[in-house]
Amino acid sequence: MLDRRRFTGLAAAVAASLVALPGFAADPVRIAFIDPLSGPFAAVGTSGLRQFQFVADEINKAGGVLGGRKLEVIGYDNKVSPAESLIQLKRVIGDNIQFVVQGNSSGVANALIDAVAKNNEREPDHRVLYLNYSAVDPSLTNEKCSYWHFRFDANADMKMNALTDVIAANNNMKAIYIIGQDYSFGKAVAEAAVRDLGSKRPDIKIVGNELHPIGKVKDFSPYIAKIKASGAQAVITGNWGADMLGLAKAAEDAGLEIPFYTYYAAGNGITKAIGAGGVGKVRLVGEGAANPPMTAAWADLNKRYKAKWPDEDWTQPRTANTLHMLANAINKAGSTDPAKVAAALEGMTYKTYWGDTVTMRASDHQLQMPVRIFVHTNKNIEFDLDNSGYGLLTESTVTAEKASTPTTCKMQRF
């Protein structure tokens, strides 16, 4: 039997250990992944989460951060809805998580950037740092820029600049069709395409500039019929996920054999759907190149990822940059305090797995990085996508200096 004094002593010890537990050095640094894990864009979201968790494992194997704390990436499903994302953000803050990564949909990003800024102002003790790995609406690092937001992907303007260089180099090109999803990103792509083509090749006629609802179109055949009828020689599209897949499928079915200049036409079933019909015709702008893999470390990482997830591919190399730079910043700051980590991220340079040197520009928190043009093909492909034998081959590289675009950001610092 315990007498009362021993019982109180024991209870006190248990209570003390419970209180002390969250402060333990072994406590993981949690990172909330707010992206679609259900609905039409679930495939993109799920594979993004797996890539983040894979990189986290890599960092943990190498010793984690702050002398032994591990990184843990936790998925929060937002169904690509801005409203749902805000609910998830509240949960994240309630769970005392200090880092949020998000990438799918600039519509969501626009909601998050505001909500995070407001939260950080109102609740200085529960601040959150928002790391955007793929939402590329230029306004996020221009007029809407925020101290609490960092973007680890080239924005739509930087990407369009590289794409239109390729288009402009083709002297036979006379007519272009632009099609995109009807939200901030699709509009940003269309605007950038019209502007860049207008300055580089004013003789190219834009024969169509179309926006369709995001994630709602069941069959793209009517759009393909329209593109065909317009007499376009090439298509520019920022479509991603199910919308890119549907567009590629319908184009293939209708035998539309003109070049496609895209942002996201690869992986998650898209490469397989494009198949033989798109060889040498579908081009994509992106960052890390799998073919050729450029460095042994990058090839090794791709191989090990494939071994773990045989049905998946490493489709978003920027996830690796995002998490590694966060880990470096946490180590540099010596803390997980979002304000200190943000300060450490500003101006930080990092050497990517594939050998690029990238820098986080302090003035607008836009990563300065080389941008590459890839072509869909089955020749010289070491790492194919969708186990289809087809993959992306690097065609040209735009250096970080050349890819850079100016910013209008006037950042309020903390």
């Binding site: 259900s38 864009f41 495939a43 799920t46 369709h212 069941k218 019929a225 499928k249 209708a254 035998g255």
Partner: protein, 316 residues
């Protein structure tokens, strides 16, 4: 322009007839049992996934034959052991039951087949362009879809209007208790109709899967539109569902092809609109951009001006 018209017509027909296959089962179930089956599109998805699994083992054609009956049996079991028990608690309970069922099927599909799109594709036999007009190809598979849908319509029509079974079903729709009084097993008729209805949804999934992609979100994208079809067509009217499906299919397809906006309409009447106007965003929205909401607009108009639907006999 002719080129665009012809292909819009063909695409609209393919889409419209697919909608018909989905909505024919739904309208029968609704008119007979008064059950708004929210899980109907989930059976459609199930059809596509089952056919995919069968096709990876023994090919597309066995999948086409086997998957719809499988879905139908599943539907019949759901009616016999689920819906029938819930029925006595009224329509709200039924509604919630099918609503929950939709989630259950959705999550089961994700558990079994994963969140990624599965590679369900048309058979090699039909993977060729049937004909080429002005350089645009029309895939043979779409022609096959057209043929199957029309075949189903004719078969359903004949069974419902010319056969004894059809007679009993028709009677059970309007006078269930009298039909039971005459010695017919009305609950069995209900189970059978539910089974056949879900089997049709399954068949729609089997043939639509390769074209519209087979992924866990496929039920959600068609889920709401089928309700529009049965309301516009008139509840319980097969011919109405047929007309409404085609109407909505063509409406959506042709709307995509039209680039005119309110601004152009106003300009035709000599009214100039300035870009600075508060409403300039509204004026410049093209018909193509609002194509996906047009069916819902049609739904609202029908409910206001003809609550019975195009060919329906009773109010919604």
């Amino acid at each position: 322009m002719l080129e665009l018209t012809v292909f819009s017509l063909l695409n609209g027909l393919v889409y419209g007839l697919l909608l018909f296959m989905l909505s024919s089962g739904l309208t029968l179930i609704f008119s007979m049992m008064g059950v708004l089956n929210f899980a109907h599109a989930s059976f459609y998805m199930l059809g596509a996934y089952l056919a995919y699994s069968i096709s990876t083992k023994v090919g597309f054609w066995p999948g086409l034959v086997l998957a719809p009956p499988l879905v139908g049996v599943l539907g019949a079991l759901v009616e016999r052991y689920g819906l029938r028990h819930v029925h006595r608690y009224g329509h709200v309970a039924e509604l919630i039951f099918t609503f929950g069922l939709a989630f259950l099927i959705q999550e089961s599909v994700v558990l079994v087949w994963g969140k990624q799109m599965v590679d369900y594709h048309e058979p090699a036999l039909l993977a060729f362009p049937l004909f080429s007009l002005w350089g645009t190809e029309f895939p043979a598979y779409k022609a096959f879809m057209l043929a199957v849908s029309i075949g189903i319509f004719i078969a359903l029509f004949v069974v419902l209007t010319r056969s004894r079974v059809g007679l009993i079903i028709q009677a059970a729709i309007t006078h269930p208790s009298q039909v039971a009084m005459l010695g017919h097993n009305v609950p069995l008729v209900f189970t059978a109709v539910f089974g056949v209805g879900t089997a049709l949804a399954g068949l729609a999934g089997v043939i639509a899967g390769p074209v519209l992609s087979t992924f866990p979100g496929m039920a959600a994208v068609l889920g709401s539109i089928v309700f529009v079809v049965i309301v516009v067509g008139g509840l319980g009217s097969l011919a109405g569902a047929f007309i409404a499906s085609l109407l909505i299919g063509l409406l959506q397809t042709f709307a995509v092809a039209v680039n005119y906006s309110m601004k152009d309409l106003l300009a035709a009447f000599g009214v100039a609109t300035s870009r600075a106007s508060m409403l300039s965003d509204l004026y410049s929205v093209t018909v193509a951009q609002i194509a996906p909401i047009l069916p819902y607009l049609l739904l609202v108009l029908i409910l206001i001006f003809r609550p019975t639907g195009l060919l329906g006999k009773r109010e919604v």
